[in-house]
C-alpha cells in the first residue's frame, strides 16, 4: 500500500475520467492523496445551455467544482499552482518544475500520477507532465517515487505498449461518477449522453469508466 499519493494534472477535471476511481480506492484505504492542479481551466469552452458561466466567471466556478470533486474523492489536500490554462508550454520549464518540486518535498509521496509527456494530446497535459517528471528526476533514484502516467494519444500504445496497470475501479463506480458529475461545467454534456447508456449497461462505456489504465514512467520516448 502507498504511503502518500500525489496526483498532478493541469486542469480541474483531468483527474475525473481516468484517475478518480483509483484515488477513491486509495483514500478509502486511508492513504492520503494530494492533488497539485496547475490551472483553473480558465479557457474552457463550455458555458452551458442555459448559460451558467461567462469567460470571466468560469475560473471561480471550476475552482468550486474541483473542491467538490476533491471532497467526493476524499482528497483533503488540494494545491492550486495558479498557472493559466493553455500557457504552460510557454512558461519556463524549471519554474513550473520548481513549484511541483516544492510539493513533492513537502508531501514526500510514494507514488506520483501525471500525464505521460508527449502522449497526452493537450499541450498543457504534455507540458505539465514534463514538468512533473523534471521535478521528480531531481530526486536521487533511491528516493524517487514511482510515477504512473496517463496516456491517450492515438499513437500511445504503438510507442509505450499496452498499459502496465489496468486498475479495476468497478467497486467505486458510483463514487467515480459523482466525482465526474462534480465538474458539471465540463461534464454535463457527456453525462447526458451516458445516463441512458449506463442504464442499459453499455459494455464499452462501463469498461471505459470501470477500468483505469496507467503506464509506469520509463523515461523519455522518442516519437
Amino acid at each position: 500500500m502507498e504511503r502518500h499519493v500525489l496526483i498532478t494534472f493541469p486542469h480541474p477535471d483531468d483527474e475525473a475520467f481516468g484517475v478518480a476511481g483509483t484515488v477513491i480506492q486509495y483514500t478509502r484505504a486511508g492513504v492520503p492523496v494530494t492533488y497539485a492542479c496547475g490551472t483553473l481551466g480558465e479557457m474552457g469552452r463550455n458555458m452551458g445551455n442555459p448559460f451558467f458561466a461567462t469567460r470571466e466567471t468560469l475560473p471561480e466556478i471550476r475552482k468550486k467544482e474541483l473542491q467538490e470533486a476533491c471532497r467526493v474523492m476524499g482528497i483533503k489536500d488540494l494545491r492550486l499552482l495558479g498557472l493559466h490554462d493553455k500557457t504552460i508550454e510557454f512558461e519556463d520549464e524549471d519554474e513550473v518544475a520548481d513549484k511541483i518540486y516544492r510539493i513533492i518535498e513537502d508531501v514526500r509521496p510514494s507514488l506520483i500520477i501525471t500525464f505521460y509527456p508527449g502522449f497526452a494530446v493537450h499541450p498543457d497535459h504534455d507540458a505539465y507532465g514534463a514538468a512533473v517528471i523534471r521535478a521528480a528526476m531531481r530526486l536521487p533514484e533511491d528516493q524517487r517515487p514511482k510515477i504512473y502516467c496517463k496516456a491517450f494519444s492515438q499513437n500511445c500504445e504503438a510507442y509505450l505498449g499496452s498499459p502496465d496497470i489496468v486498475n479495476d475501479v468497478s467497486d467505486v463506480f458510483d463514487q467515480k461518477l459523482e466525482a465526474i458529475k462534480a465538474h458539471r461545467s465540463q461534464t454535463e454534456g457527456s453525462l447526458k449522453e451516458w445516463i441512458p447508456k449506463l442504464t442499459n449497461n453499455d459494455p464499452d462505456l462501463v469498461e471505459w469508466i470501470g477500468k483505469e489504465t496507467f503506464w509506469i514512467y520509463k523515461g523519455p520516448v522518442a516519437v
Partner: protein
C-alpha cells in the same frame, strides 16, 4: 449537489444597447480580451481538421469608433489609430458587475467559440 452559476445577466445581444456601451468606451484606454477557438481536441477527434485558437488577454487598446453590425450573430469592429480589432459570430452579451463589456459567441450547445471583452481595469 449545489449548482454553482455565475452567468450574471448574460443574454442574447441587443444591438442598440451594445452600441451604447461601445460608444461610451470610445476614446479611452481599455484592456481587451479577444479569443476564438474551435477546441483543442478538434484535431484529435477529427484528424482531417485543425485545432485552431488564439487569445489576447489584457492587451491595451484605445479605439476612436466601435460599431456592432449584422442581424445576429453579430460582428464588432473597433477602429484604432493604426489598425482594427474585429470579431465575428457574437451572440450574447452582458455588462458585468465590474462594468466590463463581455461579448461572446456560443454554439447552440453552450460552447464558447469567440469572446470579445473590454474593461477599464485589467482582467
Amino acid at each position: 449537489m449545489n449548482i454553482v452559476t455565475g452567468c450574471g445577466n448574460l443574454e442574447a445581444i441587443r444591438k442598440e444597447d451594445v452600441q451604447k456601451v461601445l460608444d461610451d468606451f470610445a476614446g479611452q484606454e481599455l484592456y481587451i480580451h479577444l479569443e476564438t477557438t474551435n477546441g483543442v481536441y478538434t484535431g484529435f477527434r477529427r484528424p482531417d481538421q485543425l485545432s485552431v485558437g488564439a487569445f489576447i488577454r489584457n492587451g491595451k487598446i484605445r479605439y476612436s469608433r466601435g460599431k456592432i453590425t449584422g442581424n445576429g450573430p453579430y460582428r464588432v469592429g473597433l477602429k484604432m489609430e493604426s489598425g482594427w480589432v474585429y470579431a465575428e459570430g457574437l451572440t450574447d452579451w452582458e455588462v458585468d458587475d465590474k462594468g466590463r463589456l463581455l461579448l461572446a459567441g456560443h454554439h447552440k450547445d453552450g460552447k464558447l467559440a469567440i469572446a470579445l471583452e473590454l474593461s477599464k481595469e485589467p482582467f
